[in-house]
Amino acid sequence: MPQSKYLIVGSSHAGLSALETIRLSDPEGGITLLSEESTFPYSPTILPYVVSGKAKPERVFLRDEETFKQLGVTFKMNSRVVEVDPKKHIVRVETGQTWEYEKLLLATGGTPNRPNIEGLETVSYHTLRSLHDANRLRASIKKAREGIVLGAGLIGMHVAENLAKSGLKITVIEAREQVLPGYFDVKAADMIAKLFSQEGIQILTGEKVERVTERVGRYELYLSSGGTVSGDLLFVSTGTKPRIEYLNGSAIAVQDGILVSDQMRTSLEGVWAAGDVAQARWFFGNSKKLNPTLTNAVEQGRIAGGDMAGDPALKPYPGGMVANTYRFFDNSAFAIGLCGPLTEDDFEVNQIFLPSSFFYQKLVFKDDYLVGAFGINTDLDPGILYQLIRRRVSLGKEKSRLSANPLETARILMTQIWR
């Protein structure tokens, strides 16, 4: 049976950042990377761009044979893990191959959620998680005329825009009251939805789909409000769920995902988890949450890798939060921390809302700290604001300066504090 000191399951961002971090502390220990795909690693984030044609499918790979060779990593494609035996330290792959590990990282990511809609399990529809999905969707666009996008999160909105640009008539259906609910407040969401409408995309928010039917390539979606939406292409993007089915019977602690500590350790000795599959500390409050985003996967992978290799200077995970960028119809947006609709009223909000110039900048403070920020077409450095929140920088007098001149004040704070 082949053995590996470090065995990493899953070759996307969490797995890749883990192995590179391991190499910083342990230049020699054997690393094996198992991927269920039949290609070199790529990012799920690139997929909407593969659909739109902006990214060429043959040029999306993040690593190649040569980089793995330089890092001394054994990369195994077509190796879907079906079983973990934590007592014997053995992982079994679909083909029957087994691997013995000393330290195991589970970075198996997520799969698209299937919303609870009558009839959905019997119809064929598109999702977007793999290169295969992207190529399939790209091929379907050519034949389709009317598309329905279920779920107005980042992937849904991205795909809606790209399908519309390809000439399809698009309807987006979102169960919640606004588009991009995790990222923006109602005003921002309305501004974005209005732009989509102007671009010919119909946005239906606060609409629940009760039933789906498909007849000779024609979909009918029955809404609880009474109306119907029909089209010849159905795309579902209602979030993801962690890939953990192979852990059945391993006694690993699981809630929504694999529960991990601030070092990304699972409840099992010698097993770590990172990325979309892990349920880790949330930055705000005391809960543990899934946080299936690219930046979070990179960070958790880095922490897991550092801990696996015994880096003595490793800083624990400070907690996850919303952090993403969003580009739509040549507009740029970002959202960090508490940026959705606020539920409490003891936040201090500083905002500049200029819908006529399609500009919206919002900073959210609590006491002495920045706790959230988003911007649409601002010139701010999202990365610096992200650090101000994560580092819990006590702002003092700088708070009013940050409100008055966020770009330059944030750069000054960065230069003074962590340059």
């Binding site: 799920p44 690139i46 990214a55 960090i336 010139d379 750069r411 000054i412 230069t415």
Partner: protein
């Protein structure tokens, strides 16, 4: 081993936000003077004077590269420059979210991200900066040249957290190499386990443990023996200030006078730290130690420190230098000279060695204290080469900080009053004046 690369250093105190760098950058990038195209941004708050610099650091482990979903950002392993492939970029701007330094930003004019590429190795901003606030530096040149040399001390010695002696010991032995005999008289370096057994614990080179009183004499005898059998071996001492300036002084003074061939490194932590923080001849005025207590009758040490390095200049040594681990490149240059000088006679290096345990400061402040000691002229960096016959300041401080900038960082000076501060300030200025008298030609 990895490799260290060049990056642009920013000296805040020299910058007045004149925007020359911004102009130069946009001219280089776009051929016009338009700050919106500049990849370097400098801003000063008029009210507070605080500066902000947004510029790519060409990080060793760049977050932008690790987070790029398109593989459009990558670190060039030859030059270290973090490069961007426009063709692969999908404009997702994730890089702007993960860069903590504002070093990569989206430019709505070009509809692309922009970042510094060091102008392919000769940055326009550095050349345009009139005040020297920007400098292209190879931050860790030492690492590139010395990283592959063998560490001649085993891991896991029991130095206190934040002690600079370990840094000093490992780096010094790396450069000098295995053809050496090391003398470690009683003191911290011997006490943490450096002497070891059979090269398996402690140092991997021949080490012996002389008395506190006879380090230089014993090394002199060994060297004479090796000379007699025709083997060239370097003699090296790591002694504390007690073993050098007080208890061991007679043997060192004699060896220097006889021009014995050795490198004698005095690791001056200004007291007998190993035995419980007693005062020594190099403990400075006003300092608390366990034998110069602070109370109604006494406020720390009542006399000034012995000017040990200057005393060694007066011995007509082959080479004398002061050095600090806060200025490692300076130390390495001096070590090179000391190695050469020790072939002819005595090479003496006096190391400023702040002690977190005995001086009462957090371990993280070690290097800052070392820097402040130099910037206040408390511990000026200089060297004396016998063939040149004069003292040369290797890091002259044109506009020294007041001594409080240094004293306030250290617990052993916490009690001192204004009168004592004035005394230390005056003494510091006097010491510099004395040293300056030795900077003239013979």
């Amino acid at each position: 081993m990895g490799k260290a690369y060049r990056t642009i250093a920013f000296y805040e105190q020299k910058c007045d936000a004149c925007q020359k760098c911004v102009e130069a950058c946009s001219n280089y990038v776009k051929g016009i003077s338009d700050a919106r195209y500049s990849r370097i941004k400098v801003f000063q708050n008029k009210e507070t004077g605080a500066l902000g610099l947004a510029l790519c650091r060409q990080c060793a482990e760049p977050y932008c590269v690790m987070n790029c979903p398109a593989g459009a950002l990558f670190k060039d392993l030859e030059t270290g420059i973090v490069k961007w492939d426009e063709d692969k970029c999908i404009n997702c701007q994730i890089c702007t979210l993960v860069c903590p330094y504002g070093g990569i930003s989206y430019n709505p004019l070009t509809k692309h991200i922009m970042k510094c590429d060091l102008c392919d190795g000769d940055p326009a901003c550095v050349k345009a900066c009139p005040s020297g606030a920007l400098e292209l530096k190879n931050g860790a040149e030492i690492f590139n040249t010395w990283g592959d040399l063998e560490d001649l001390v085993v891991p896991g010695l029991s130095f206190c957290l934040g002690c600079n002696s370990e840094l000093l010991l490992r780096h010094t032995l790396r450069r000098i190499g295995p053809n050496v005999v090391v003398a470690l008289p009683p003191g911290c370096i011997a006490g943490v386990g450096t002497v070891g057994v059979n090269g398996k614990t402690g140092a991997k080179v021949p080490v012996f443990h002389p008395l506190l009183t006879n380090t230089a004499a014993m090394l002199a005898g060994l060297k004479r023996y090796y000379n007699r059998i025709g083997r060239e071996v370097t003699m090296l001492a790591f002694a504390g200030d007690g073993g050098t300036a007080d208890v061991g002084f007679q043997s060192l003074s004699g060896a220097a006078e006889r021009r014995e061939q050795m490198i004698y490194i005095c690791v001056d932590n200004e007291g007998y730290m190993n035995t419980g923080v007693q005062r020594s001849g190099t403990t400075p005025y006003g300092s608390w130690t366990s034998t110069t207590p602070v109370g109604a009758a006494q406020k720390g040490k009542r006399t000034d420190a012995k000017p040990m390095p200057l005393l060694m200049v007066m011995h007509n040594c082959e080479y004398v230098a002061t050095a600090s681990t806060a200025f490692l490149e300076d130390y390495y240059a001096k070590l090179e000279k000391a190695i050469e000088a020790s072939k002819k006679g005595m090479a003496y290096i006096h190391i400023f060695s702040p002690c977190p345990t005995g001086w009462r400061f957090p371990p993280s402040k070690l290097i800052e204290i070392g820097r402040k000691a130099v910037h206040t002229n408390i511990f000026p960096l200089w060297e004396y080469e016998n063939r040149v016959g004069k003292i040369h300041f290797t890091h002259p401080v044109e506009d020294p900080l007041p001594v409080q900038a240094y004293l306030s960082l250290i617990g052993k000076f916490r009690h001192i009053d204004m009168e004592q501060v004035s005394h230390i300030q005056a003494q510091t200025e006097r010491n510099i004046e004395i040293l300056k008298r030795f900077t003239h030609e013979k």
